[in-house]
Symmetry: C2
DNA sequence: CTGAAAGCGCTTACAG
DNA sequence: CTGAAAGCGCTTACAG
């Protein structure tokens, strides 16, 4: 049933050895241009597709890219995955998914065992796994190339890996400026999960904008959240029940912003009239909630694609140690109803 | 770096041939209990894990389960995938994802080519792909076992495959009864995408409940939607702008219900006071929107797990033709604020 | 109930 | 620039 065209068929038709076909398929050097064309023609005529199992067995690798994640939002996962899949498919690579419980006591061992057993060629780490020094260090020690899709923490220890990200701090700064420009001075802030470096970057951006505008950050209006709806709601209750009620709240992601809006609705506060709310991530929710939420769009899909391409390069160069470069992509501030001015 | 323990190591330690180890690993019959135990002990002591590439090459299969989808909601995909992954991992199977554009002219050929090339052992079809007769027929002709995760259409043609589902019609019936019990008589309905069989089942359930209650279905209050936010919004505008404005609207999924709520908010209609709104799917959105949305919860994750197990059984029995049985799982009506009575 | 042989379709390491 | 040989780690098909 399955495609039965093998490398031998191609070799025979092209009048060369299978080794030459292999060279052409793998884009190896040292093949005469004329020969390459003949082989390529045979491949196309026969619709040859190399058998991944045979490649993997002989080549001692899996032709698999691994994506490690810990309970991300569904849309984050779906978008990232779509980008990774695009790049993998283009390179005849497969995708292996690995849900990881970040807080499990033997998490690092479990991941390493999985990496060994599946023989993954490269790993993409999502937050907060990418922010876990012990994990990243162990993966690097294993010799598996990896890329983070989140902003790195301070310093540059052994856990530094290349990262594909947006400038989280700058994005948060611009969002805060957006609120300040609309006349808000008393702005509440809900921090993200402390295990994510992104949380501190976003908070830093908020503080920077406030200071630039000569406004004081009232720490009573800064609450700790955990990137989920419930924590946003809890923080919203604290902020909106306070004596010094803010006129705007910047939640570090959309789910928490939705929690704040929930509370505001319960308190019969008009959004944005009585309270402006902004988030971060541009999840589908942000467009469907009422009023629609002002937020920051990250090109998650593109991030997944780029991260995969970096890994593919590292693999082909056989450079287990990819350079810990920061690849920054553009973000976009989406101004919507929840912070409308006028 | 990677695990280097091979079947030969296990055979040597257990004092048997590699064939016997193979039998134990694959749970084949004809192994003395005592022998099986010895081998099992050696496997555990050595932490042996069979090499998938070698298995696949020698066995002429991929040990891969395929999931085909066409732009589903992120949470649907994430949940289904989580369930499939659970079952796959337990069986030492991998998961291969295939995004398919349902409306592409050469869609069937593309899917078949992918199935051949990847040598997928079994396929899980999500709607609306599972509702596409040409596609299902072609996959069956290829000899690849497949399972649908959506309710089948009427009749039982050649395109019938086993399905793991909830009783969509009954769920919609109960939801309608829920509205009727709250005193609603003038109920609007927004149909789902016509390419999904689920749409007609949900509509049928709505009509059945209305008839049982002796209420007439005003076809002017039945609008065509496409399962997305925008179409829900458009339908909402039509329904709420009509002379005979309904007091409740049943949208065939949550995204469309969110669209209706958006319109209601714009028109300053109170929910549920002026208008009750209910949806279907229990997406994260339904819990985070204001007011929270009454909806039907489908156990998507469990559906994915069951579907995979069915496929695994079909594969091990070497029964390409799984029986077209309907496996029904329980749904749950989640009554929330958007239809609160009192 | 158990095993020896052949081979799956490639890549590696080497030779020329 | 090209190829012949060996072997990756399993399963198949067969023999006993």
């Amino acid at each position: 049933m399955a495609g039965k065209v093998t490398i031998d068929d191609v070799a025979e038709r092209a009048g060369v050895s299978i080794k030459t076909v292999s060279r052409v398929v793998n884009r190896e050097p040292n093949v005469r241009e004329k020969t390459r064309e003949t082989v390529q023609a045979a491949i196309e005529a026969l619709k040859y597709r190399p058998n991944q199992a045979a490649r993997g067995l002989a080549g001692r690798r899996s032709y698999l890219m691994g994506v490690l994640y810990d309970n991300p939002s569904p849309s984050y996962l779906a978008n990232l995955q779509a980008g990774v899949l695009t790049a993998c498919t283009a390179a005849s690579y497969g995708l292996a998914l690995s849900p990881v419980s970040h807080s499990a006591p033997d998490m690092v061992d479990t991941v390493i065992a999985w990496l060994k057993h599946t023989n993954i060629d490269g790993a993409i780490l999502t937050p907060p796994l990418s922010d876990n020094i012990a994990l990243v260090t162990a993966i690097k020690a294993l010799g598996v190339p990896c890329v983070a899709v989140s902003s790195p923490g301070p310093g540059s220890g052994p856990a530094n890996v290349p990262a594909v990200v947006i400038d989280e701090e700058e994005a948060a700064r611009q969002m805060t400026v957006h609120l300040i420009s609309a006349g808000h001075k008393n702005i509440g802030f809900i921090k993200g999960h402390p295990d994510h470096y992104a949380s501190s970057h976003r908070y830093a951006g908020f503080k920077a904008a406030m200071e630039e505008a000569g406004l004081v950050v009232d720490t009573a209006l800064v609450k700790q959240g955990y990137f989920d709806f419930a924590s946003g709601k809890a923080a919203g209750e604290l902020l909106l029940g306070a004596a010094n009620r803010p006129s705007a709240i910047f939640a570090s992601n959309d789910d928490m912003a939705a929690g704040v809006m929930h509370v505001a609705h319960q308190l019969k506060l008009e959004i944005p009239g009585d309270l402006a709310v902004v988030g971060f991530d541009d999840t589908p929710l942000s467009r469907q909630i009422w009023p629609s939420l002002t937020t920051i769009r990250q090109p998650i899909r593109l991030i997944g694609e780029r991260a995969t391409e970096l890994l593919l390069q590292a693999i082909s160069r056989d450079t287990a140690a990819t350079n810990p470069v920061l690849h920054q992509l553009d973000f976009e501030l989406k101004a919507r109803g929840s912070s409308a001015t006028g």
